[in-house]
C-alpha cells in the first residue's frame, strides 16, 4: 500500500502509521509546506512579532527609567533598584515566565509573555543606557551648568539624546535577541510560531517543512531589522 505523508494524517489512529513509510517519504513536500504556511505565518504575526515589538518598546522605556533611577535616586533606594534589576537579569527567562504565569493565574498568558520579556530585557537595556549616559563627556554637563539649564532640560535635550546615539546598536541586538527568545512562550502555553509549526507537523510526522518555514521567518524578520539598526546608527551619528 502506497501512502503519502498527508494521507497519513487522515487516518484516525496515528499509531497505525507505518514507520517504514514515514522514513521513506520525501524529505521535502511542497504541497504540505504551502498548506502549513498560513497557520505558521499567522502565529508569527499575531504572537512572535507582537510580543517582540511591544516587548521591545516596554524594555526600551523601562530600561531607560531604571538607568535614570539608579543614577538619580538616593543611594539606598538606588541600591534596591540595582539589586532587583541584577536579580531579574541573572535568572533565566523561562523560570520567570513560569513563575509569573502561576503567580498571576488570572492574567492572560500573552500579556504575561509581553510583560516578562519587556521587564527581563529592560534590565539588560538599563545597563546599556547606563554605559551610554556615562559616555557623555563631563564637558557637556559643565556646559549645561554654565548655561543654567534645568536638570530636566539637561537630561531630555543633552544627555539622553547623546547617550542614545551610542546605545542604538546594543539595544537593537537585544531586540533581536528577544525575538529569538519568543519560542520560550511555549512554557506558558502561548501558541507562538515554533509551537504552531510543531503542532502542524507532528500529526503527519513531517518536521522539515514546518521548522524550515519558522526558521526562515525568523531570518526574514531579523535580517532587515539588523540592517535597519545599522542605518539608524549611521543616521544618529553626528554630521561631520
Amino acid at each position: 500500500m502506497m501512502m503519502s505523508g498527508i494521507q497519513a494524517a487522515e487516518i484516525d489512529d496515528p499509531t497505525m502509521i507505518d514507520e517504514e513509510e514515514v522514513r521513506e517519504s520525501p524529505f521535502w513536500d511542497w504541497d504540505f509546506a504551502f498548506d502549513a504556511f498560513p497557520d505558521i505565518f499567522m502565529a508569527f504575526v499575531e504572537v512572535t512579532l507582537l510580543v517582540t515589538i511591544i516587548g521591545t518598546l516596554v524594555a526600551a522605556v523601562l530600561g531607560l527609567i531604571i538607568a535614570i533611577l539608579i543614577m538619580l535616586l538616593p543611594r539606598p533606594l538606588a541600591w534596591c533598584v540595582r539589586w532587583l534589576a541584577n536579580f531579574i537579569r541573572m535568572t533565566p527567562i523561562v523560570v520567570q515566565l513560569i513563575f509569573v504565569f502561576w503567580a498571576f493565574v488570572w492574567m492572560d498568558a500573552l500579556t504575561i509573555g509581553i510583560i516578562v520579556f519587556g521587564v527581563h530585557y529592560a534590565t539588560y537595556m538599563s545597563e546599556v543606557y547606563r554605559a551610554g549616559i556615562e559616555s557623555v563627556p563631563k564637558g557637556q554637563w559643565e556646559a549645561t551648568t554654565a548655561l543654567s539649564m534645568s536638570a530636566a532640560r539637561t537630561w531630555r535635550k543633552i544627555v539622553i539624546p547623546q547617550a542614545l546615539r551610542s546605545t542604538v546598536p546594543s539595544l537593537g541586538n537585544y531586540a533581536i535577541s528577544m525575538f529569538k527568545d519568543t519560542p520560550f512562550l511555549l512554557v506558558i502555553g502561548v501558541a507562538e510560531m515554533v509551537t504552531v509549526a510543531g503542532e502542524r507537523g507532528a500529526p503527519v510526522f513531517r518536521t522539515t517543512e514546518v521548522y524550515t518555514i519558522a526558521g526562515l521567518l525568523f531570518l526574514v524578520a531579523s535580517y532587515p531589522t539588523a540592517v535597519l539598526i545599522h542605518r539608524l546608527e549611521k543616521r544618529l551619528a553626528y554630521a561631520q
Binding site: 563627556p137 564637558g139 557637556q140 559643565e142 556646559a143 551648568t145 554654565a146 548655561l147 543654567s148 539649564m149 534645568s150 532640560r153 535635550k157 543633552i158 539624546p161 547623546q162 546615539r165 553626528y238 554630521a239 561631520q240
Partner: protein, 278 residues
C-alpha cells in the same frame, strides 16, 4: 568700597545694593578649595569691579582654572565665601555657621555668569543655532524669534553668519570656539569667564578668536575673568593681572607693570619662560 577683609557678617548682602557700582561684581573672601587632602587655593581674597577685566596668570596647577570653575559653580567651594553682585554664590554666614544658599538663589546669580571652555563643549546633537538659543529661550524665557534674531547677529559678530544650521562637529576648532563665545554672549552675562579658550586651537586661528574677544572687550562692559597663556592678549585686554603660584596671589597690578617690571622673582621666571615659548 568694601575690602576683601571686611567681616562677612556685616556685609551688605542685600540685592538692593547689588547694582551700585561700589559693590564688587565678584568677591572672594577667605576662599579655600581642597580636593581631598590637596589644598589648591588657600585664604584667597580678591575682588573684581564691574566692567573690570582681570587675567590670571601662573604656572599650571597654580589654581587659576579652579577659580573660574568656582565662580561658575562647577566645583564645590570647601571654605570661605564667594559673592556675586554682593550676594553669596554658594554659602552664606548665618549665626556664625556656613550655610549653603538655596539652588534658586544660586541659579539667579549663575544666569549672570557665562563661561567659554578650553574644549568648547558645544552640544554636538544640536545645530549651531540651537546651541545658541537653547538657554536664552528655556532659561531666560525669551521668545524663539527674539533669541533667533539675537543668535544671528551674534554669529555675524563672530564671523560665522552662514553656519547657523550646521552641526558643531562639522566646524573647525576655531569656528567651534567662536560659536561657543556667541553661545555665552547670548545669555547677556555680566561676567564672562574665559578658561584657556585658545589652548586647544591651531596656532593660525588663535588670532581670530582673540580678536573677537578683543572686540567684545572694547564694545561691551562685561566683566571678564581670564585664564590664558596668550600674554599679548592679556596685556591688551586686561585692566589687572594677577600672578598665581601655589594657590596664592603672589603679585597683582596693571598689565604694563606686571609684564615689564614684575616685583617678584617668581613672576619674572614665569614670564620669561612663557614669553620665550611664544
Amino acid at each position: 568700597m568694601p575690602t576683601p577683609n571686611d567681616a562677612v557678617g556685616i556685609r551688605p548682602a542685600e540685592a538692593a545694593s547689588s547694582t551700585s557700582p561700589e559693590v564688587p561684581v565678584i568677591e572672594f573672601v577667605d576662599v579655600e578649595k581642597r580636593f581631598g587632602d590637596n589644598i589648591v587655593l588657600k585664604d584667597l581674597n580678591f575682588s573684581v569691579r564691574r566692567g573690570e577685566r582681570v587675567t590670571l596668570i601662573g604656572p599650571s596647577g597654580s589654581g587659576k582654572t579652579t577659580i573660574l570653575r568656582l565662580v561658575m559653580t562647577l566645583e564645590e567651594l570647601t571654605g570661605g565665601y564667594i559673592f556675586v553682585d554682593g550676594e553669596p554664590l554658594t554659602h552664606r554666614e548665618k549665626d556664625g555657621r556656613r550655610v549653603a544658599v538655596s539652588p534658586k538663589e544660586q541659579k539667579k546669580l549663575r544666569t549672570r555668569i557665562g563661561m567659554v571652555f578650553q574644549q568648547f563643549n558645544l552640544f554636538p546633537n544640536m545645530t549651531v543655532l540651537e546651541n545658541i538659543i537653547e538657554a536664552p529661550i528655556h532659561v531666560l524665557g525669551q521668545s524663539k524669534a527674539e533669541a533667533t534674531a539675537k543668535a544671528h547677529s551674534l554669529l555675524e559678530q563672530v564671523g560665522l553668519p552662514d553656519k547657523a544650521d550646521q552641526h558643531p562637529l562639522s566646524l573647525s576648532g576655531g569656528q567651534q570656539q567662536r560659536v561657543a563665545i556667541a553661545r555665552a554672549l547670548a545669555m547677556d552675562p555680566e561676567i564672562l569667564l574665559l578658561d584657556e579658550v585658545t589652548s586647544a586651537l591651531d596656532p593660525e586661528v588663535v588670532g581670530d578668536v582673540l580678536n573677537i574677544l578683543r572686540k567684545v572687550a572694547d564694545t561691551t562692559n562685561v566683566t571678564m575673568l581670564i585664564v590664558t597663556h596668550e600674554m599679548s592678549f592679556a596685556r591688551d585686554v586686561s585692566h589687572k593681572v594677577m600672578m598665581f603660584d601655589g594657590g596664592r596671589v603672589i603679585e597683582e597690578g596693571a598689565p604694563e607693570k606686571i609684564f615689564s617690571d614684575p616685583s617678584q622673582e617668581r613672576t619674572k621666571q614665569f614670564l620669561s619662560a612663557v614669553l620665550r615659548d611664544a
